[in-house]
């Protein structure tokens, strides 16, 4: 029997990807877990492993081509099974197989949690017409359009309906499958978008990453009730401590930035104020409070913002954190981060101080409850006793989802973070 391996629905709302490179050719044998294709999705460039052993019978799509979730990637003649008609397994059953065997990235992705890197719109998950739990609201669509979308692996929610009241009709699905369907950007009244290339403007197609960032930012702003508090903390002792430690580390050609200290301080404060380490589930009307502290770190890359996760911050030492962050940053520049690297974050730290910024109003990495922005440490006049002195001040900007965290609690939390940063020795006690 032949097995048609379709571009799996790897969750997170991804519905298309670009084929970067094929690892297999027609006639080539493949083992389960071997990479089939390198795929660029909204978030990552990742290898998609084969879920089965067998021989490649056919390959669909050429390098550079955009494929939709559910499109056939390869047809595999399964090992040890007589060749019969290709099984046109549905997407659902296909995913089940992948999950069951738990191959590489694909298997993990399917079962991954909800709090990945700047999670994309929940819609992809909500609208899935294949009965997956979490079905909350449905895009307006005709029954036939739904049946076709499900069958063809089209994300019906990504389609702009041409029927009455924006209803997705059969022809919309057919157009989407033909690839001629462009999702129209809704124009607000009076908005003038230049339509043609002119000397005054350059038109630049959105990259997958930019599209994801756009969607996530909008979702965060539309879903969370943003509130931001600004503080500055005197960090003379931290400056001194870091200098001393770096002196020691210089022999090993290692160097600590401020970020590992900040992560430790945040991690310690979060254990005391766990609501900032939570997320809200409106559907079930409950708060999901995370016991682990996995901190997402915003990293600036030439392609755009990426936010991988440093796990179990409270269980790791400064050096471990530092080297882990270095690896993530390196991977981010090379775009070799795996989807798993983005998933599971419970709180985010963004360090725009490294670029020279002071204050900002950070956008929460939804559905997390809070994000802490770190500004540039500056020498500033400070008052000690009744004397004016020169001290090092670190600006902090904490955005919280006011649905989850009250103002007093966010003040207490940031005060705790400030305590740790101004008295870094106290981190030894946590």
């Amino acid at each position: 029997m032949n097995y048609i391996f379709k571009f799996p629905d790897i969750g997170e709302g991804i519905h298309e990807g670009r084929i970067v490179k094929w690892y297999v050719n027609k006639g080539q044998s493949i083992r389960s877990g071997d990479p089939v294709v390198k795929m660029e999705t909204d978030k990552v460039v990742t290898d998609i492993p084969s879920p089965r052993d067998g021989t490649i019978v056919s390959r669909h799509g050429s390098e550079g081509e955009l494929v939709n979730v559910g499109d056939a990637l390869v047809e595999i003649a399964l090992l040890g099974e007589s060749e019969q008609t290709a099984s046109s397994e549905t997407k659902a059953s296909h995913v089940a197989i992948v999950e069951e065997k738990g191959f590489g990235v694909v298997g993990k992705l399917e079962v991954a949690g909800d709090s990945a890197y700047l999670p994309v719109s929940e819609e992809g998950r909500l609208i899935r017409s294949d009965g997956v739990a979490g079905l909350k609201k449905k895009v307006l669509a005709t029954p036939t359009a739904r049946a076709m979308a499900k069958d063809m692996g089209v994300d019906i929610n990504a389609i702009s309906g041409s029927g009455p009241a924006g209803r997705v009709v059969k022809n919309d699905i057919l157009r989407a499958v033909d690839g001629s369907s462009k999702i129209p950007i809704p124009k607000s009244a009076g908005e003038q978008l230049p339509e043609l290339e002119s000397p005054a403007v350059t038109l630049e197609p959105l990259t997958q990453i930019r599209k994801t960032i756009a969607r996530n930012m909008i979702r965060s702003k539309q879903s969370a009730a943003h509130m931001t508090v600004f503080e500055q903390v005197e960090v003379d002792r931290l400056v001194d401590l870091r200098k001393r430690l770096n002196d020691k580390l210089s022999e090993k050609e290692m160097r600590l930035t401020y970020l590992p200290f900040i992560l430790k301080a945040v991690g310690a404060a979060l254990t005391q104020y766990p609501r900032l380490n939570s997320q809200m589930d409106m559907e079930k009307e409950q708060l999901i409070i995370h016991h682990d502290v996995h901190i997402s770190i915003a990293i600036d890359t030439p392609d755009g913002l990426m936010v991988p996760v440093v796990r179990d911050v409270n269980r790791k030492g400064l050096l471990a954190l530092a080297s882990e962050m270095a690896v993530l940053a390196h991977k981010a520049q090379l775009r070799t981060l795996q989807l798993a690297d983005f998933q599971g974050g419970t709180f985010t730290v963004t360090n725009y101080g490294a670029i020279g910024g002071t204050y900002g109003v950070p956008v929460i990495n939804y559905p997390q409850a809070a994000i802490l922005g770190i500004g540039r440490i500056m020498k500033s006049p400070v008052v000690r006793g009744d004397q004016l002195a020169i001290g090092y001040l670190m600006p902090l900007s904490l955005s919280v989802d006011h649905r989850i965290v009250d103002g007093a609690e966010s003040a207490r939390f940031i005060r705790r973070v400030m305590d740790f940063l101004s008295e870094p020795d106290s981190l030894l006690l946590v």
């Binding site: 005709t142 029954p143 036939t144 049946a147 076709m148 069958d151 009455p164 009709v169 059969k170």
Partner: protein, 450 residues
């Protein structure tokens, strides 16, 4: 400009367009050369349905004994043409008044008179020249003269003239094979006249699913309507006689319900493009002059009043800047026969021609409790559906209330429903509508009552 919109023709296309135009705040004038309500209300759909109802009552009374009604002497039961016709006229008057008041209520001015288009934005009526931004032509259609010189014109009258007859023709010759010809032929047979139906096309109601043609053929045979092809007949006008070999038929009335032709508006100094004798329109129902729309029979898109009204609304929406979709996918085709027949969506002939893959599921009324109780088991529901997703492509209903029941199928097709949806929808019991659900059960291979 004197007006925003001048609508010419007060039938179901024109008066509906005028009402909507008035509602949208356009300064609107409706011009009608004869009677508000047009062909449909005055001389078509409405009076013919009234007459058919009279005939149906007669048949039901004749059958009443079977249902336990006593005291009816079937031999004495008869049909009073004058009463039936005057009932129809009263009904027409009442509805006509209703149209008049609706127009008034919505701020539409009306005027009786023949309109001439002096320019794309000027209308001449009753010796006045009116200027307007838009014109909606809804001038309708008339029976087309039969080709060849076989009739003296005075003998040939359209349905419009029938209502004026003092007595009911006993041996009417009905020309045509479309819905209204079939309905009238059956009407005459039900009131004990002896009609002859003279057909032109290869099959009856050729626009409908071939299954409907078959059903109609059986119905006509059952009600003893003689059917002859026009091309087979020889005519003797003087003797009002048609014959074919040794068979001959002497008629006392000729009713032309065959093809219709557009009533084209008179234009001065400009012309409007035609397509096969009808006003040519684009996808917005605009004629070759963009400020002039053509709706209803005059554009040749449909012969049905409900399609005409839908077009009227569409045109007004369009000239008001509202983009809509015309045509709607599902325009029902109704035949007020006995029992009634209705179809919506694709017929089998269209599916074959277009190469659309389909399957058909059907369920007879003879297995339906309500139909049996009513003693009307002659009928069926047929669903043409797309086999992969089960989308309903076409529905045919033959049943006593088929013309009302088809509304369910119109919704289903317009909303792209599948047979699985219909099977899942609860249909009240006992009703004839259950047959729709039963047919859907068959389509999903899970029949209950079969």
């Amino acid at each position: 400009m004197n007006y925003d919109v001048i609508v010419i023709g007060g039938g179901p296309a024109g008066y509906v367009a005028a009402i909507r135009s008035g509602q949208l705040g356009h300064k609107t004038l409706l011009l009608e050369k004869d009677k508000l309500g047009g062909m449909c209300l005055n001389w078509g759909c409405i009076p013919s349905k009234a007459l058919l109802e009279s005939a149906k009552k007669l048949v039901e009374v004749q059958r009443a004994e079977e249902f336990g009604v006593t005291g009816i002497d079937v031999d004495k039961v008869g049909f009073d043409w004058t009463k039936a016709a005057s009932r129809a006229e009263r009904l027409v008057k009442r509805l006509s008044k209703g149209v008049e008041s609706l127009l008034k209520k919505n701020g539409v001015e009306t005027e009786i008179g023949k309109a001439v288009l002096n320019s794309p934005n000027e209308v001449l009526v009753n010796n006045r020249l009116l200027t307007t931004r838009f014109v909606i032509l809804a001038t309708g259609s008339l029976p087309m003269p039969i080709e060849g010189d076989v009739f003296s014109v005075k003998d040939l009258y359209p349905f419009k003239e029938l209502l004026k007859q003092k007595s009911l023709p006993k041996r009417p010759l009905i020309l045509g094979d479309g819905p209204s010809a079939i309905e009238m032929a059956q009407f005459f047979s039900m009131v004990n006249a002896q009609p002859l139906l003279v057909t032109f096309s290869e099959r009856l109601v050729s626009m409908a699913d071939p299954y409907i043609s078959e059903v109609i053929g059986r119905q006509l045979q059952k009600s003893r309507v003689m059917v002859k092809a026009f091309s087979d007949l020889a005519w003797n006008n003087a003797k009002r006689l048609v014959h074919h070999d040794n068979w001959n038929f002497e008629y006392d009335a000729l009713i032309n319900l065959a093809d219709r032709q557009a009533v084209l508006p008179e234009t001065k100094g400009f012309s409007l493009d035609l397509h096969q004798g009808f006003l040519q329109t684009n996808e917005h129902l605009q004629t070759s002059q963009k400020t002039i729309y053509a709706v209803g029979d005059v554009n040749g898109l449909s012969i049905f009043a409900h399609a005409a009204s839908a077009q009227g609304l569409f045109a007004v929406n369009h000239l008001s800047g509202v983009q809509g979709l015309y045509p709607p996918k599902a325009i029902p085709l109704n035949l007020y026969t006995y029992p009634e027949i209705a179809q919506v969506g694709y017929g089998e002939h269209q599916l074959k021609k277009l190469g659309i893959e389909y399957k058909t599921a059907d369920f007879p009324l003879s297995a339906n409790g309500k139909a049996m109780a009513e003693g009307q088991v002659d009928g069926t529901v047929r669903i043409h559906y797309e086999p992969r997703y089960g989308e309903i492509l076409g529905v045919i209903i033959v049943a006593p209330q088929a013309t009302d029941m088809i509304a369910e199928a119109v919704s289903l097709i317009e909303l792209e429903a599948t047979v699985a949806d219909v099977a899942r929808m609860v249909h009240a019991h006992p009703t004839i509508s259950e047959v729709m659900m039963e047919a859907a059960f068959i389509a999903i291979d899970a029949p209950i009552h079969r």
